[in-house]
């Protein structure tokens, strides 16, 4: 045991300071051509994968039936070991054909005749082989063959197809995307069931080479829209990219925006609907969401459940949602404007009640509001980071006990608790999470405007925000599309939901190849066409 009263010289290894590393830009690997000499290939592969330093990269050499040498390389945990053993190593060990004298003329037939695996490729591009191994493939090199063989044996741990967590509905399918690209594209294909759905492969990130797909329906989506999405994605120059949301932030039109302009969904049915409208979806491996391009300001306020209900009920729900969103942004600012500048607008008895409740509160209304709003945001953030059960407990502790205590201690007035509670509930009604953040920032701006210039400040804020929204674009369409000038009815049907049988056309701002969605009289028995 160390003597606590004695000074010990610090040892060299105890005082580690992270030094500046040698600046090394990521460089292209040296050019290499797959050789007929197995030893050369082996040395290159070992160097490239840093074997044996890399513990999970498996190098396995084996001998074919005629005595010829070969080796396989794959990453443990990313492949199905049973497949590698039975479909690759075992099969190859018994290929009688791979013997001296016959191999050079038959090398292109190896996969066709002897590899019993569904996805296998022979290539002379070493980078393609390396990419496949990095993405869960198994590469095989055979002595005397100047090609590499890659087999898709990827199999790694992943979630199953669960229920959607953020876009729950009572009606409609209950499936959500997971982190597997092919699962996700298959879920969409399963709904659309047409060969016109195109899944164009993309790779993003110079190092990560994250795989993804651009999905669209060939005879509906505008080609220039598809090309633009592809052009932007191909133009991303970054080492690593991990999620579709990051990708969205790269490819969006406006670099800095206080409003969310990205529509992402975790629901395959919702994605399929957008594709059927003529939009483009981007899926990325490892992301349980699809990015929809383009979108407009109105669609961000829609919910997944809207598609499955009678339009009357949907419109009632949307009205409540829009009012809730408006309240979550404007209510605190309007309250301050009313109490600080326009008291004459408050009915007398309500004014008495408000002033009586504020009688012993030491802070001015603005400070009181900002204090409560900040506390509410703290509780919300903390609730999100806590495990499920603790999160709800925190909500009760924060909301009920803290609120009650603050009122009893006369730090805040009861009316302020009501204002913050309505604002908070309103913000939870926002269907898009990022839009919720945008509204939180706007709320602060409106608090400042309402507190400094009353209703006039709030009107000016609404005016500037509206003009700002109108100036934004999203993949070649105006963010406030459909343009009000092109017919108020279209704006109305964008904010509210028309009946399913009256949606004759696809959104005209998407300029689709086929604008007609359904017949003029889609319920044909009404026109007698069914006879």
């Amino acid at each position: 045991m160390k003597n606590p009263f004695k000074f010990y010289e610090p040892q060299e290894n105890q005082s580690f300071i992270l030094q500046q590393a040698e600046n090394k830009n990521s460089t292209e690997p040296e050019a290499f051509k797959i050789s007929k000499n197995l030893k050369t290939n082996e040395e290159y592969i070992k160097k490239r994968f840093r074997i044996p330093e890399n513990n999970d990269v498996i190098y396995r050499s084996f001998e074919l039936k005629g005595g010829k040498k070969a080796f396989a390389v794959f990453i443990e945990g990313m492949v199905n070991s049973a497949f590698v053993s039975s479909n690759i190593i075992e099969t190859m060990q018994f290929i009688p054909f791979l013997q001296e004298g016959t191999i050079s003329i038959k090398q292109d037939e190896i996969i066709e005749k002897f590899v019993s695996h569904c996805q296998a490729v022979a290539t002379d591009d070493i980078n393609q082989v390396i990419d496949e191994v990095n993405f869960g493939g198994c590469a095989v090199f055979v002595d005397g063959v100047n090609k590499g063989f890659t087999m898709d044996v990827r199999s790694w741990g992943h979630r199953g197809i669960d229920k959607p967590e953020n876009e729950q509905t009572i009606y409609g399918p209950q499936e959500a995307f997971n982190e597997m690209l092919r699962n996700n594209s298959a879920l969409i294909r399963k709904i659309l069931k047409t060969e016109k759905v195109i899944c164009k492969a993309i790779k993003v990130g110079k190092e990560s080479k994250t795989r993804g797909v651009i999905m669209y329906i060939d005879d509906i989506a505008n080609d220039s829209l598809v090309n633009e999405v592809e052009r932007r994605i191909k133009g991303i120059d970054v080492d690593y990219i991990f999620s579709v949301e990051e990708l969205g932030n790269f490819i969006r039109d406006n670099k800095f925006s206080i409003t969310n302009q990205l529509l992402t969904t975790e629901r395959p049915d919702r994605t399929a609907r957008y594709l059927a409208d003529g939009r483009v979806a981007v899926l990325l491996n490892g992301s349980p969401t699809a990015l929809i391009c383009p979108t407009n300001a109105y669609e961000l306020t829609h919910a997944a459940s809207d598609s499955y209900m009678n339009s009357v009920f949907v419109n009632a729900a949307r009205t409540i949602r829009l009012l809730s969103m408006a309240l979550s942004v404007l209510l605190p600012g309007v309250y301050l404007a009313l109490t600080l500048f326009h008291q004459e607008m408050i009915p007398t008895y309500l004014l008495y009640s408000i002033s009586a409740s504020r009688e012993n509160v030491p802070f001015p209304s603005v400070l009181e509001l900002i204090l409560m709003d900040f506390s509410f945001e703290m509780i919300r953030e903390a609730g999100l980071r806590m495990p499920g059960a603790l999160g709800s407990t925190l909500g009760i502790v924060g909301g009920l006990i803290l609120g009650q205590a603050a009122v009893s201690a006369k730090i805040v007035s009861p009316i302020m608790i009501i204002i913050i509670a309505i604002t908070g509930i309103g913000s939870f009604a926002t269907s898009d999470y990022s839009l919720g953040w945008s509204y939180r920032i706007l709320r602060l701006i409106f608090i400042v405007l309402g507190a400094s210039l009353g209703f006039f400040g709030i009107s000016a804020g609404v005016f500037l925000y509206a003009v700002y929204l109108a100036s934004l674009t999203n993949f070649g369409i105006k963010f406030l599309s459909p343009l009000p000038g092109n017919g108020g009815v279209k704006v109305f049907s964008s904010i509210f939901s028309p009946s399913i049988w009256s949606e004759e056309f696809r959104p005209d701002y998407l300029h689709t190849k086929n604008n007609k969605k359904e017949a003029k009289i889609s319920r044909s028995w009404l026109s007698g066409r069914d006879k």
């Binding site: 500048f341 004459e344 209703f455 006039f456 009107s459 005016f463 109108a470 343009l483 000038g485 108020g488």
Partner: protein, 348 residues
């Protein structure tokens, strides 16, 4: 310059004309025609339609207003147009901050109100005319709903007897003096200045007719409602007739102050007006002097406008010079396109 759709241009024209209706027009009509203000409104609308019809016969709408080959004539026209726009803008810009101070912000210094309006107007102009056009289109149905609601709630206050005598202050006042109220349509000058996406003269002519007719209807209904509510002589005393009307609205005991909605519409309309005018002024200046950019001009122009309104007497005193500025605005909106057509013919 950004280009507008014809519908957005119509919305912009209606909005800027509507602002004058919100502030001064009904009172000036009452002062001239008495109870027959609504008749005067019908009359000036008809006169304006006739004048516009005559302009369409001589003016080439496919060319922008300042498309004049001779630099001297272009600069002369540009300066004349700028002065008209400045006059029109300052007349509103003077009234609005004072009204905001009286009605909404009694304890806030007028300098702060003017400064804030200036900042908002510059930001609006900086964002561009296309978003302003779009917001004008989007905002109009909201403004229309609020106006209709106001009028519906005012029905209990209306008395048909207030409309008599039908010819108010006399036929001469309506037909001769009443012509000064043509300035209510003076903002039609923007039609000749602003560019549209499809440089199609017919679309612009349609936008002109539409905006004059719609504005005429709104003006007639508003003045008629005002006349129906307040008997003459009382009606001539109120500086802001529309605001005075909406103050009468009572919906039960709780919603006693409906004017909050009105003030919201009022503020947004006027801020749109400021930004649109500021943008147009900058554009005229850019075209006149062949400048590469127009948006940086918005700041110096708002400083000029703010300085003018800060250093001129109160708008009630300005009303004494009503005839001069109303005539100047009313005449210029007809004269400028006519003169430009003559210049273009001379150049041919």
């Amino acid at each position: 310059m950004e280009r507008l759709s014809h519908k957005d241009l119509t919305a912009i024209l209606i909005n800027v004309m509507y602002v004058k209706l919100l502030l001064t027009i009904p009172r000036n009509m009452i002062l001239i025609a008495g109870n027959a203000a609504w008749l005067l409104s019908v009359y000036v609308t008809a006169v304006m339609l006739l004048l516009f019809f005559l302009i369409t016969k001589i003016y080439d709408f496919e060319k922008p207003l300042l498309d004049i080959k001779s630099p001297a004539l272009r600069i002369g026209t540009g300066i004349a147009v700028s002065l008209v726009l400045l006059l029109s803008m300052t007349s509103v810009a003077k009234i609005y901050p004072e009204t905001v101070k009286i009605v909404l912000l009694q304890n806030t210094p007028i300098e702060i109100i003017i400064g804030f309006i200036a900042v908002v107007a510059v930001l609006g102009a900086f964002i561009g005319i296309e978003p302003l056009g779009r917001i004008s289109s989007l905002f109009q149905p909201i403004a229309a709903v609020v106006m209709v609601l106001c009028f519906l709630f005012l029905i209990p206050h209306m008395k048909i007897g207030n409309l008599t005598p039908v010819l108010g202050n006399g036929i001469k006042n309506i037909t001769v003096k009443g012509l000064t109220t043509l300035y209510g349509f003076s903002d039609i000058i923007l039609l000749y200045i602003l560019n549209t996406k499809n440089e199609n003269g017919k679309g612009k002519i349609k936008a002109g007719y539409k905006s004059i007719i719609i504005m005429g209807i709104i003006m007639t209904v508003t003045t008629a409602v005002y006349c129906l509510i307040f008997p003459y002589s009382v009606s001539s005393n109120y500086v802001l007739p529309l605001y005075q009307m909406v103050r009468l609205i009572q919906i039960g005991d709780f919603f006693g102050r409906f004017e909050a909605f009105f003030e919201f519409v009022w503020s947004i309309s006027i801020l749109l007006y400021y930004s649109i005018y500021l943008y147009t002024l900058s554009y005229v200046w850019q075209k006149t002097f062949n400048l590469p950019y127009l948006k940086p001009l918005a700041t110096p122009f708002i400083i000029i406008v703010s300085s003018i309104i800060y250093n001129t007497p109160s708008f009630t005193q300005l009303n004494k010079n009503y005839t001069v500025y109303a005539t100047a605005l009313g005449v210029s909106c007809v004269l400028i396109p006519a003169v430009v057509s003559l210049i273009r013919r001379g150049e041919k």
